[in-house]
């Protein structure tokens, strides 16, 4: 099965072949889960949204014509599934999870800690800001693409992005004090 091309695997998955579907899952599950988790800002919701994204994708596989890369097509489905599901759960109370402030931070301590703090800071952003920040700064969408996905103007997308970046800086402000004491640039990775 692993010798097959992606197009062949997709054809088999289209026909409901369990091995082919699992292969696609194993290949792309981390990508799907990452974007969905960041949009959801919640582990339990993320798993539900990711499952929904996969169900939609497998259901829509026969419509995949190969005009774009499969990963791009799947990613867009995941984003849409997460955003739609999140709208349904807008009434949930926004949790203000405390930052892991007691963890010692150094400029070159390894990426994991920095990643954890970035993820935690993103989780604290209001939904609208978080979505734009994720789509633009993490996923590389343009403001026009974001406008299309979120149903807002590109100007609104920009405005939300700048606010989100500024808010992130506030959340992460503890980082640079220590880093500057060490004379190193805070975000050099």
């Amino acid at each position: 099965m692993t010798d097959l091309s992606e197009a062949q695997i997709i054809r088999k998955a289209c026909a409901g072949d369990g091995s082919a579907i699992r292969l696609l899952y194993e290949r792309y599950a981390p990508r799907v889960y990452a974007v969905v988790r960041r949009i959801a800002a919640d582990d339990d919701l993320a798993q539900d949204y990711a499952q929904e994204a996969w169900i939609r994708a497998i259901r829509a596989l026969p419509t995949f014509r190969g005009d774009s890369r499969f990963s791009t097509w799947l990613h867009r489905i995941a984003v849409n599934a997460a955003l739609q599901a999140l709208r349904k759960t807008q009434t949930r109370t926004k949790k203000e999870a405390p930052m892991p402030a007691t963890v010692p931070v150094g400029p070159r301590m390894g990426d994991t800690l920095l990643e954890q703090r970035l993820e935690a800071a993103m989780d604290r952003l209001p939904d609208g800001m978080r979505q734009v920040l994720i789509l633009h700064d993490v996923e590389g969408y343009t403001h026009e693409e974001i406008g299309e996905v979120l149903g807002v103007t590109s100007g609104t997308s920009k405005s939300q992005l700048f606010k989100a970046r500024a808010r992130m800086r506030e959340f992460l402000s503890g980082l640079d004090e220590k880093d500057m004491q060490n004379g190193a640039e805070a975000w050099s990775i």
Binding site: P30, A34, E119, R169, E185, W187, S188
Partner: protein, 224 residues
């Protein structure tokens, strides 16, 4: 000159500063530093790695896909299932049918008998269940017996060094995840069904025990 606020600096991560903004940045070390930090933050966000889904995610998805008819049974997967799991599944199906029969047939019951795990014969179908409550109790009893029989079976496999008994915690866990997902789906369909609830509880308990075993052995690398 008016100070640049953080939102403006956040814009300058992507956009060229106006002449006034450039002058301000040239004159103010603090804001140059802040802009550099914002640029670093943006770069770091773009470098964030993908995230692993939680354990059991595939099993849940597989169960949903199957329930929606989007995924077929895979013969090769069945062939790779450890023998003891196949036996367990057979016993579950057999006892499931028996339990259902007992729940439905509270008037007359056939006098079927078979040998228990210890060799002693025991009645599979209660001839004395005169009420639904008694039938439910009987189902619980046979469920416990099934679990005991399964444990004995595993012990025998282990003691005899059977390849089937030497399955890894990961593959066992994957099979249990599937059973739990199937049990959850079944309980959603029939929330008050005592057999289905008992089966789900047993599968979840077994999965928990296997989790612990896998963690203790430090071999839990398979995150699916």
């Amino acid at each position: 000159m008016e100070h640049l606020n953080l939102d403006t600096l956040a814009r300058l991560v992507d956009e060229t500063p106006s002449r006034e903004e450039r002058h301000h940045l040239e004159d103010c070390t603090r804001f140059r530093t802040e802009l550099a930090l914002l640029q670093g933050q943006t770069h770091a966000l773009g470098e964030l790695p993908d995230l692993r889904p939680p354990r059991g995610d595939w099993a849940m998805l597989e169960a949903r896909l199957m329930s929606e008819g989007l995924l077929r049974h895979d013969r090769s997967l069945l062939a790779s299932t450890p023998a003891w799991m196949k036996v367990a599944a057979t016993i579950v199906l057999f006892l499931g049918g028996t339990g259902l029969g007992m729940a439905l047939d509270t008037v007359g019951a056939a006098d079927s008998r078979m040998a228990g795990a210890d060799g002693a014969p025991f009645s599979l179908v209660s001839s004395t269940a005169g009420s639904l409550a008694e039938a439910e109790e009987a189902v619980r009893l046979y469920e416990r017996r099934y679990m005991d029989a399964l444990v004995q079976y595993r012990q025998l496999l282990d003691s005899e060094g059977s390849p089937a008994g030497a399955s890894s915690p990961e593959s066992r866990l994957a099979a249990l995840e599937y059973l739990v997902a199937a049990g959850q789906a079944a309980v959603q369909q029939a929330p008050a069904d005592p057999f289905l609830n008992g089966f789900l509880a047993s599968a979840m308990a077994e999965r928990q025990a296997t989790y612990r075993a896998a963690l203790q052995e430090g071999s839990a690398d398979d995150w699916y």
